[in-house]
Symmetry: C2
Subunit: 195 residues, 2 copies
Amino acid sequence: MARTAGSHSADTAPRIRAAAQRLFAQHGYAAVSMRQIAAEVGVQVGALYNYTSDKQSLLFDLMVVHLEDLLDALPEPDTAAGPMQALDEFVRFHIRFHAARPEEVFIAYMELRNLSPENFAAVESLRRLYEDRLTAILDAGQARGVFRVADTRVATMAIIAMLTGVNTWFRETGRLSLSEVEAIYGDMTRRLVAG
Amino acid sequence: MARTAGSHSADTAPRIRAAAQRLFAQHGYAAVSMRQIAAEVGVQVGALYNYTSDKQSLLFDLMVVHLEDLLDALPEPDTAAGPMQALDEFVRFHIRFHAARPEEVFIAYMELRNLSPENFAAVESLRRLYEDRLTAILDAGQARGVFRVADTRVATMAIIAMLTGVNTWFRETGRLSLSEVEAIYGDMTRRLVAG
DNA sequence: GTCTATAGTCTGATAGAC
DNA sequence: GTCTATCAGACTATAGAC
């Protein structure tokens, strides 16, 4: 595959993605200029528009890929194992996945209002699919009498908020290891829903 | 008290505050211009600088006043009543206070990275004081054997994240009333820490 | 206290050379 | 595919008239 004249690097596209992600997470979408992104990549601003139609779709792509990765990576519950183990697996997965991607998570939560209405709707429906996976676990546990929850939808929102909150304070170099944190949150979540 | 020549309204200051709060919450600090704020108030942009030294201190003031109000409004635990009741009161207070101030809460969480380093430190120390109030309740309950928590600091962060998350989905016109929500979260929190 | 005018800089996006 | 140059407008903050 011959390079087009003037092409200096075959992987400009992922480098633009990475630069946008880093800068959006650090300064916020609205505060970052296309020129800043170009400088981080090492190209001039005009070159960015070979890879993205505009700044908005740079943000939208980051969010969609993140949420699609999240949905793809979430393990299917082992129906033979029961709801309690499914819940435990969800908790550990959520914490591990989110701790590994602090920038993506930050952007996905903080920049929702900078999406166009259509893009916002698309992102929200992906997020809703993820929430539904936890609600299904809670409903199954409730039906079998393993869980006793006043409202599975409210419990879903409560648990996800609690788990995602880990990203606001957890540091690799901190007092607790990630697996200790997983264990503590696993315990808290079990107690939250136990029948 | 005579009006200065050219003064059209004695309460321009609070109207600037209100406009900044509304616009920052809706569009984000970085996306809002001083001209937009001035237009919302009904003055020209130059007039704003009679009331604020710059855009940054507009944001900082909103956050500080919000957090000071929060700390002032938080009831002192009734030491005779015991930790379980203190926890319940904290939960209900937190949900009620935050539900009543969605804009302030949104700004206080989303715009931290737009604070200057000194302003960020000041805001973080106020937030820390609030967190400490919950940690103290958990420590007291732990000491008396009423609570059984693996780590009171982690439980503090988990509970506050869970409670604050209510603001992302609760609507006055929704399926549940605010007092129903308070009751559900009160129950979940008790189970989270129960000994 | 509010106005208008302005300084100096930055913005997203495009056109056309190479 | 990347570059330079450019458009048309917006930005924060200030100065000085009233």
